[in-house]
Amino acid sequence: MTKIALTLTVNGETYEVLTAPHRTLLDVLRTDLGLTGTKENCLEAECGVCTVLLDGAAVNACILLAAECPGRAITTIEGLGGPDGLHPLQQAFIEHGAVQCGYCIPGMILSATAFLDERPAPTEAEVREALAGNLCRCTGYQKIADAVLAAAGRLADRRP
């Protein structure tokens, strides 16, 4: 199969990737770029563990071809913060006990990031609506909703 050359912008860095054209963004992120913070599960956009941001919008990387992504800004969990500077959502997830096994959490936090960008002061019902595409089997979602609401407050305080 003829490979194609792609230039991908992930977390502000540029990557040159030579790949078969049918491969998904999820596969390229995890296998070629070693960014395994984006998780793999159902591969049919049902569970949301592979959620990344594409130009700021939350998308399922498992059904997106990498070939559709050049020229777009891709953000993965690795681009959101690190141990020295956690994003308010990451901090809130820790403080509220919203993390158990943690496998859904990168996708959950990225969905919440995109949502809070659009809706800085949401109600709990709106948070739940926004995260309905991200399955979590450990938490029952309550502490996740609490964490997102708390982070919304903190992000609002930061805004001028």
């Binding site: 395994t36 049919e44 997830f93 403080e95 158990q100 096994c101 943690g102 609506e129 089997r137 450990c138």
Partner: protein, 758 residues
Amino acid sequence: MTRETRVVGKSLPRIDAAGKVTGTAVYAADFALPGMLWGKIVRSREPHARIARVDTERARRMPGVRAVLTAADVADVRYGGSLKDETVFPRDKVRYVGQPVAAVAAVTPEAAEAAAAAVEISYEPLTPVLDLAAALAPGAPLVHEHWRDYTAIPILHRDGNVCNRARVVTGDLERGWAEADRIFEHRFTTAMVHQGYTEPRAAVAAWDSSGQVTVWSNTQLPFEVQNTLAEILQMPPGRIRVIVPGIGGGFGGKLRVGVEPIAALLARKAGRPVKIMTTSEEELTAAYPRQATVIELKTGVRRDGRITAKEGRIWFDTGAFAGSGPGVASVATLMLAGPYRIPNLFLEGYAVYTNKTNCGSYRAPSGPQSNFAVESQMDIIADALGLDPLELRLRNIVREGDEGPTGQVLTAVGLEECLLRAARAIGWEDRRPGAWRGKGLACGWWTTTGGSSGVYVKINPDGTVALNTGAAEIGTAALTGAAQVLAEELGVDLDAIRVVSADTFATPFDFGAQGSRTAFAVGNACRAAVAELKRKIFAEAAAQLRVEPDGLELRDGQVVANGARMTLAEVARLSQLSGGGLIAHGTFIAPPTPYDAKRVQAHVYPAFHSPSFHAHAVDLSVDPETGEITIHRYVVAQDVGFAINPTAIEGQIEGGVAQALGQALSEEIVYAGGRVLNANLTDYKMPTTLDMPRVEAILVQRRSQVGPYGAKGVGEPPNIEPPAAVANAVAAAAGVRVTSLPITAEKVALAIRDRDGG
């Protein structure tokens, strides 16, 4: 226990949270090695058939293929828990759709998938055994013709398609019926459901030049996987190393070997590392889900509600292999008794073979099914006697010093408090607060599983502490709880503790992340290690401080005596100069729980260790047209003994209720003709954010005698009562009783229509 605690009892953030929110935590699904191949399993397309031929020629010649594996490559051994009836690949016949028959390894996942599809298997179909009724019918085809030849623990009672019949007999049933004013008989059914962990099962296997194999897998039981691999590979366990990098949820579904043996065998044949990861379709057709069941209960009561006798049978559709079935059928008998004082009991649990996927263990195995039947019937009885369901329970529940069904003496029984607090919180006095709205209660009990745990605890020369445990952290924060116990005992802060876990080569033995035991058992092993460490620390410090060791204690990272003190870090440094450093091996095994052996037969689990007690209450509405259920409030009162980390325990309760509401309302692996109809996450419906109510958790704390600080197991219990609580609330709201799980809108609507003669 009067001393103020500094670390235990506090809602501290879990110690592994930062890695999980930043994406740096490595899970088995993320693990990769240089030169790694991708394995793919070729699975049976028939539920029950002779294998006429397996032709791998075309697959072998496909591009990128490096190994093709069939039964001919595998030693002819059977493995399993209490009953050894499984093989890696079948030699004679397939027993379920999805059973592994062969496997391939190739340079890309796509090449492996193509090669797997090119393996040609010819079948000669046999009559499949499609459900419990077919399996138990006279003259039914046998799923295992040679069942008598299998190795099993001797106590099992087996017969054809029944791979165990466990029994509890107490008192005299006939006397109990004679004393009863009313006798109630009911039948319930429950569906097969999946644990629904978000990380698929995954394993990477690599052999080194000395002939040792290392397997990185997301198993909950690395030591059991090591031993099972030893049987399969015919190698000493010491030459097999199993490491758990991280687990994205397990809930019992990752207890037993899954893809590990096939990855190891492919890697050996290919001479390169091999990774296998399951798809959602494989998970829903060929994993270890919760057994579907049929339950029959006959209960005798006096007019005042006191239960005089109970006869119960539960049949588990355990699938093509025994799996956890013989044990689950045993535990079920204790759950069928319920947390009630019943003088005359005759209870049986059957594990039954069918041509379906091999069922396993799922959070509180047998609990939700048994409890659904027992607690639904309690409400039916209360209604028939004109008693309040809460009052009926209060007249029958076990209390301090009462006997359990097999004669164990119950202590630290917080059940009455759980019931009363759950009822008060839900507003029980107003059980039907509006049209089509009602409240339901259910209560139960559960065990804290035994088994042994070992830890090494090492004090570093900077005063930090390494906790080395064979237990895996599957998400429950159990190892954070154990670390809190360790920090408390050592007089250090939680952030001084670092954990290394779950590596069969490097970490001490642990019975595994199962049965709500990890924080309990590892926490106690930590206490034992600290007792040993204290002897060493105090001897060293006493010599330095010129005081008697007896007066020393550990506080705020220091060794403290009257007026004198030195830091733990300094003691550790000195110990490195003279004594090889500060390290201790702590161990724990739950003491046996005495019971009356005459009351049990073929029983793998005759008593509950440090049992927990719990009550759930729900307030919901039913749509009279569609049957749809809307949950307004959900309350759990759980006797946790002692809450080592209240926030983490609330997380267990909220998550356990969510999973169990899925089982109660929407989840079912649907089989037709031996094939799963809904093997994808679109049609297998797990609760989302929009389906879940807020769960109000009440932590009751009756300290156990054995657990650290009085703790009891907390992880599994929240999964037990939701189906029954929902069924009882639906009955209160809509006046219809649904006796099969899941309680779908369709079943509720049809029941309403039947009742109203529509």
